[in-house]
Structure formats: structure tokens, C-alpha cells
């Protein structure tokens, strides 16, 4: 039985905050193109300068996701990737030397079918610091929240520009960070963010006692830098998953040289997303 230690997400944000830096948080769909490559991609993301990473569980009905992550999920599910496989990737990545915190991103049903107690026990066992469940709003999360608090895994909530009065309730209870959805819509690359985005982020900031991060639609360093001053971290999903789709298609895996080159391309892409300078909020 381990004693309560500081959550690694909190530690990373404290260090970045002291340096005035913004966290870069990539998202990868586990099992796309396969699980071994997922482990290598996680290592590549850390080498590219990522501060923590979201490991996405492929799901048959990804309601909150746009076409890029839907396609990645379909590719991963073709070789029957399970939730426990995805959780297991974290231990393999640790064994490969990855040090940054892991956050699992999963829809609720796979966790529910596994059993919520067992789900959190596995998250603990494999060294996860946080979990994001996009289809589990505040009204439905009581049981999950209770287990999360007991196990020390942060349940990271989402807030949206439409959350309005809910922001206060969500942000005040948040652990780890508050995931601010930049725009109305599903995940995916986009040119514009919600018109009231800065005001929205300011509202979340006021209500939150933990860092705030922005995601949904961030696909370039310019966009990441746009949020560097107002948020503590930026989450980049679809843009990276699309790069994986291009650089590491399943047929590339048979060719070791091509795989190596593909990993290098994804690493360079992630490195280029990192905000070059940051301002304090």
C-alpha cells in the first residue's frame, strides 16, 4: 500500500509555473497503428518536449470526436484493442524510459464494463496520474469522483463555452487541471475558436484553483502560442493523430526504416507545436 504522494500532474504544473512555461499536452490514440508503435510514439512525444500526455482509448462510438480521431479509433479497433491494453501501454512506456505524467482519455462505457473499482486499480497500478471521461458530466460522475479521490487519480473535467453557470461548479471541484473546450463542436483541426474564448478562459480562471488548459482544434504553434499567455497548457490531439495517420500508416510497419522515419516525422511535428515563448497570465 503506497502512501499518498504528490500527483505528478500537480508537480509538473508547479515546475512549469515557476519557470513561466506553458504545458504542451499531446493526445495519441492507442493502438494506431499498433500498440508497440504507441509506446514508441509516447517516447517520441516526450523527446519532442511534451510535458504530459493523453492516451486515448479507441471507442466504437466516439461522440465527442471529429473525423480524424474517429478514423484512428476505427484503425485501432480493427485489431481489437481493449481498454486494459491501452492502460498497459503506460507501463511499457515507463519501462522504455518515459517520465512524464500519463492521463487516460476514455469514453465511459468501456470503464463501466471493466468495473469502476478495477478500472481505477489498473490506472494506479500502471502509473496514471489523471483520467478524462468526455461523456461523464458533473451530474453523472459521483461514483467515479469518489473512487478517483480515494485512489489519487485526478478526474479532469471539461468545460465548454456553453457551460456558463456550470463553470463555477465544475472548476471549483476540479483536480489536476480544467480542460477548456476551445470551440463548440467535436475534436478536430479548425481555423477559428469560439468568439468569446478569452472571456470564457478568464471566467474559468477565476473559478478554478487548479491550472487551466485549452484543447479542441489547436493544430499549430501559432495557435498554441495564442493561448500560451492565458492558459497553463495546450492540448493537441487531432493534428498529431493526423500526422500519425500520414507518417505511420499500418502498411508502413513492415518496413523498419519507414517506421523509424515516420516516428521522426511525428516527433518533429510535436516539437514544432511547442510554444517558443510564453508570457505570464
Amino acid at each position: 500500500m503506497s502512501t499518498v504522494t504528490a500527483n505528478a500532474i500537480d508537480t509538473v504544473f508547479a515546475e512549469l509555473g515557476a519557470k513561466g512555461e506553458t504545458a504542451l499536452i499531446p493526445f495519441l490514440t492507442m493502438g494506431d497503428p499498433d500498440l508497440d508503435t504507441s509506446v514508441k510514439l509516447i517516447a517520441a512525444a516526450e523527446a519532442a518536449g511534451a510535458h504530459m500526455i493523453e492516451l486515448g482509448v479507441p471507442y466504437s462510438d466516439p461522440l465527442a470526436d471529429g473525423p480524424v480521431i474517429q478514423r484512428a479509433s476505427e484503425r485501432a479497433l480493427r485489431h481489437r484493442i481493449s481498454l486494459t491494453d491501452c492502460i498497459g501501454v503506460a507501463s511499457k512506456a515507463r519501462a522504455a524510459g518515459v517520465r512524464m505524467p500519463f492521463i487516460l482519455f476514455t469514453y465511459f462505457n468501456p470503464a463501466l464494463q471493466l468495473g469502476l473499482e478495477r478500472f481505477f486499480a489498473l490506472l494506479q497500478e500502471h502509473g496514471f496520474s489523471g483520467v478524462i471521461i468526455p461523456d461523464l458530466p458533473l451530474e453523472e460522475d459521483a461514483e467515479v469522483r469518489g473512487i478517483a479521490e480515494r485512489t489519487g487519480v485526478h478526474l479532469i473535467p471539461l468545460v465548454a463555452p456553453t457551460s456558463e453557470a456550470r463553470v463555477e461548479r465544475i472548476a471549483s471541484q476540479a483536480k489536476g487541471f480544467v480542460y477548456c473546450v476551445s470551440s463548440l463542436g467535436v475534436t478536430g483541426v479548425r481555423a477559428d475558436f469560439h468568439a468569446g474564448i478569452d472571456q470564457f478562459l478568464a471566467t474559468v480562471r477565476r473559478a478554478s484553483s487548479v491550472p487551466i488548459c485549452v484543447g479542441f482544434g489547436i493544430s499549430s504553434r501559432e495557435q498554441a502560442e495564442r493561448f500560451a499567455g492565458v492558459a497553463d497548457g495546450v492540448i493537441v490531439g487531432s493534428a498529431i493523430v493526423r500526422q500519425v495517420e500520414t507518417s505511420l500508416p499500418p502498411e508502413a510497419l513492415a518496413d523498419a526504416e519507414r517506421t523509424k522515419a515516420g516516428l521522426a516525422e511525428v516527433q518533429a511535428f510535436i516539437a514544432d507545436l511547442k510554444p517558443r515563448k510564453s508570457e505570464t497570465a
Binding site: 461522440l63 481498454l83 464494463q113
Partner: protein, 400 residues
């Protein structure tokens, strides 16, 4: 009975229901719930809905005594609740009229809808034309091929049909895509969900708009027989026509309520849509209910000859009625439904929709086992015209 008090404020029917959706939609669901609660007892709102149900859709629909079918089976008396005689040919319009009038009161000018067989899409496109609303219908690409006639019908009515190419390209993914579109356009768009599924308040609201079927049936059977029916049989995919006819009878415990689900090629094959027979509790498309899923919680593809029953989920209130043992759910195969469709056509001159044919098929098994003084009401939820082309495909162009 306490069943009339469900759902609770969390949208729970026992342990089923709820609101499992992305945060972006939560306030839209509250806004919808508040608007619905404000108007559901408002005399002007109700008068407008009732007027349209009567003068536009042709309600009340008849409760017809199927004498030749009854004689043929030699058991209980069989009545057909003729929802197929509604404008647009199915019960779906009861709900779309209610929701479209509500959308208008809420100041929404754009509506979206998902559709499987196309019946709900047509019913949505119809009320959009009637009330001057802009309408987009999401339909699985596979279904647009199976139901090409309905695609054209929706376009004639001025709606835009969006073929969905993700996932299984059927109703399940049409629902996902409609929800995704709603997340992106929640500011000005009203989502007319077509069944008693999805997040709260939809299962409650759609049930309430479909209750007119059961309320009329109750009056009509008492007028015809002087007492309540012994059995009510209805097909279930998502479950809206069944909930509509069941609900007013839930407190009448002498009335057996039987939901008939699609067994496709058989419940022991992997080609069926028998959610109650083979599914397990899970969260799917916004609510907790029975779901066809693998052990890892991935939702499985459903199969049925009927595009309207081809769905791996079911409304949460049905799950609740099953668990409290107030309703029974039984499977009927594609082949049994096709036989029933032909028998009803020849005995009564009524070609039922393939969905409704499932309810007829179960009645063919049940009626001969019951005494002649008992009555069965079948909810004949839709007419079969839309299915003729696919029936030709199954039976061959030339009938014996």
C-alpha cells in the same frame, strides 16, 4: 404504481437513463427540459399540437378489429391500432409535431434529425415544411441505399439529407453524427430526436408525445369491448411506438405489455438487433440502458431486415419496465416478420411496415394460445409501402 413518476430529476428510470453527453450539450439539454416543462401543460401549446394531430395527421387513428386474421388464428380477438394511417405513414409524426411546435416556441429556426428507415426523417422534414423550419436529416449511407425512396421524399419536402459514412453507416452512426452536429450548432439548432432514447429529457418527452397512441387505444377498446385489452404487442427498436402505446397502461397491471425486438437471422447468430434478449446494461448515446456490446464495452453492429429496428440500443424506460417485470420483450426473426407481413396483407388488405410486421409475427404465435374472449391490441406502427422494394429483394419479384 410508482412507474408513472419516472423519470426523476436526473432523468433516471430506476438505474437507467441519465445524461451521458459531452459538457458542451449539458446546458442545451437543460434549456430543452425547461422549455418542455414550461409548455407541456400550456393550453395554447397543447391546443396547437392537438389541432395538428387531428387536422393535419388525421388523428385519432382507428382501432380496427381484424376479424379475418382473428378467425384464421382461432384464438384471442385481434385489434390493430392503425398508426399506419397517420400522415407520412407511421407513428413518428406524433413526436415530430410535438417537438417542432416546441422548437418554434423556443425560437429555433433550424432543426436536425437522425433517421434509420427514413420514417422519422420524413416526419421531421414534413413538419419542418409545415412550420417553415430549415431541416437537415442525417442518415447512414447504407440506409440511404436501402431506403432510396424516403431520401427522395425528404428532398421533395425541402430537407437536406446528409449521408453518414462513419462507423457502420446505419442508424447508430446517424445518431452519433446528429449529436456531433448539434454540439457544433447548439446555439441556433433544435435536435428532434426520433425515439425514446438518448439523454434526458428526450426519453420522457418523446414518450409523452407518443402517449396519444395508448390514450386513444384505451378509449377505443373500452368503447368496443367494454374493458381493457388483455395484451398489447408492439415492435421495439429504440422503442417509441411501443412506449407510446404501453405507457398509459403501465398502471393497469392486468394488461400484458409485450415488446417485440428484431432477432434478425436468429439470436444465436451475430446478425440480430435483440438488445433485450442478448444485450447488457451500458451507456450508449447519452443514456444507460441495455446495449448490444462486446465484453470490452464496444458497441456492436445490429442487424435486422427492418432498418427501423436495426439499432443496438433501446430506450431506458423499456429497460426499466423489463427490470421491474412490467413488460416482456421477445425476439422475432427476419423470416417470421416476412411471413407475418404477407399473411396480414392477404387476410386484411393491410401491408404493414417491416417494423410492425414483427409485432404481427409475435401475435401469430400468441393469439392461438389464448381463449376467444381475450383481446390483443397490435400497434401497427407504420405502413409497408416504404419496404416494398426491399421485400422484393427478399422474396424475389414473383410471388406464388
Amino acid at each position: 404504481m410508482t412507474t408513472t413518476q419516472v423519470p426523476d430529476t436526473y432523468g433516471r428510470f430506476g438505474s437507467f437513463g441519465g445524461r451521458y453527453v459531452p459538457e458542451t450539450l449539458m446546458n442545451a439539454l437543460y434549456e430543452l427540459e425547461e422549455a418542455y416543462n414550461r409548455y407541456k401543460d400550456d393550453p395554447d401549446f397543447l391546443a396547437e399540437v392537438r389541432y395538428l394531430l387531428k387536422q393535419y395527421s388525421g388523428r385519432p387513428t382507428p382501432l380496427y378489429y381484424a376479424e379475418r386474421l382473428t378467425e384464421h388464428l382461432g384464438g384471442a380477438k385481434i385489434y390493430l391500432k392503425r398508426e399506419d394511417l397517420n400522415h407520412t405513414g407511421a407513428h413518428k409524426i406524433n413526436n415530430t409535431i410535438g417537438q417542432a411546435v416546441l422548437a418554434k416556441r423556443m425560437g429555433k429556426k433550424k432543426i436536425i434529425a437522425e433517421t434509420g428507415a427514413g420514417q422519422h426523417g420524413v416526419a421531421s422534414a414534413t413538419v419542418a415544411a409545415l412550420l417553415g423550419l430549415e431541416c437537415k436529416v442525417f442518415m447512414g449511407e447504407e440506409d440511404t441505399k436501402r431506403q432510396a425512396l424516403n431520401v427522395f421524399r425528404m428532398k421533395l419536402l425541402g430537407a437536406e439529407v446528409v449521408p453518414v459514412t462513419s462507423g457502420t453507416r446505419t442508424l447508430k452512426d446517424a445518431c452519433n453524427e446528429t449529436l456531433r452536429y448539434w454540439v457544433s450548432h447548439v446555439d441556433d439548432t433544435y435536435y428532434i430526436l426520433g425515439s425514446v432514447t438518448g439523454p434526458h429529457p428526450y426519453p420522457m418527452m418523446v414518450r409523452d408525445f407518443q402517449r396519444v397512441i395508448g390514450l386513444e387505444t384505451k378509449d377505443q377498446i373500452i368503447e368496443a369491448e367494454g374493458r381493457l385489452p388483455d395484451v398489447i404487442v408492439a415492435a421495439v427498436g429504440g422503442g417509441s411506438n411501443a412506449m407510446g402505446i404501453f405507457h398509459p397502461f403501465v398502471g393497469d397491471t392486468s394488461v400484458r405489455l409485450i415488446g417485440v425486438e428484431a432477432a434478425g437471422r436468429g439470436v444465436d447468430t451475430d446478425k440480430h438487433a435483440a438488445t433485450m434478449t442478448k444485450g447488457t446494461p451500458g451507456v450508449f448515446q447519452g443514456s444507460m440502458s441495455y446495449v448490444l456490446q462486446d465484453e470490452g464495452g464496444q458497441v456492436q453492429e445490429a442487424h435486422s431486415i427492418s432498418a427501423g429496428l436495426d439499432y443496438p440500443g433501446i430506450g431506458p424506460e423499456h429497460a426499466y419496465l423489463k427490470d421491474i417485470k412490467r413488460a416482456e420483450y421477445v425476439p422475432i426473426t427476419d423470416a417470421e416478420a416476412l411471413d407475418a407481413l404477407q399473411l396480414l396483407s392477404r387476410k386484411e388488405g393491410i401491408i404493414p411496415a417491416l417494423e410492425s410486421a414483427h409485432a404481427v409475427a409475435h401475435t401469430l404465435k400468441l393469439a392461438p394460445t389464448l381463449p376467444k374472449d381475450q383481446t390483443i391490441v397490435i400497434n401497427l406502427s407504420g405502413r409497408g409501402d416504404k419496404d416494398v422494394e426491399s421485400i422484393i429483394g427478399y422474396l424475389g419479384g414473383d410471388l406464388p
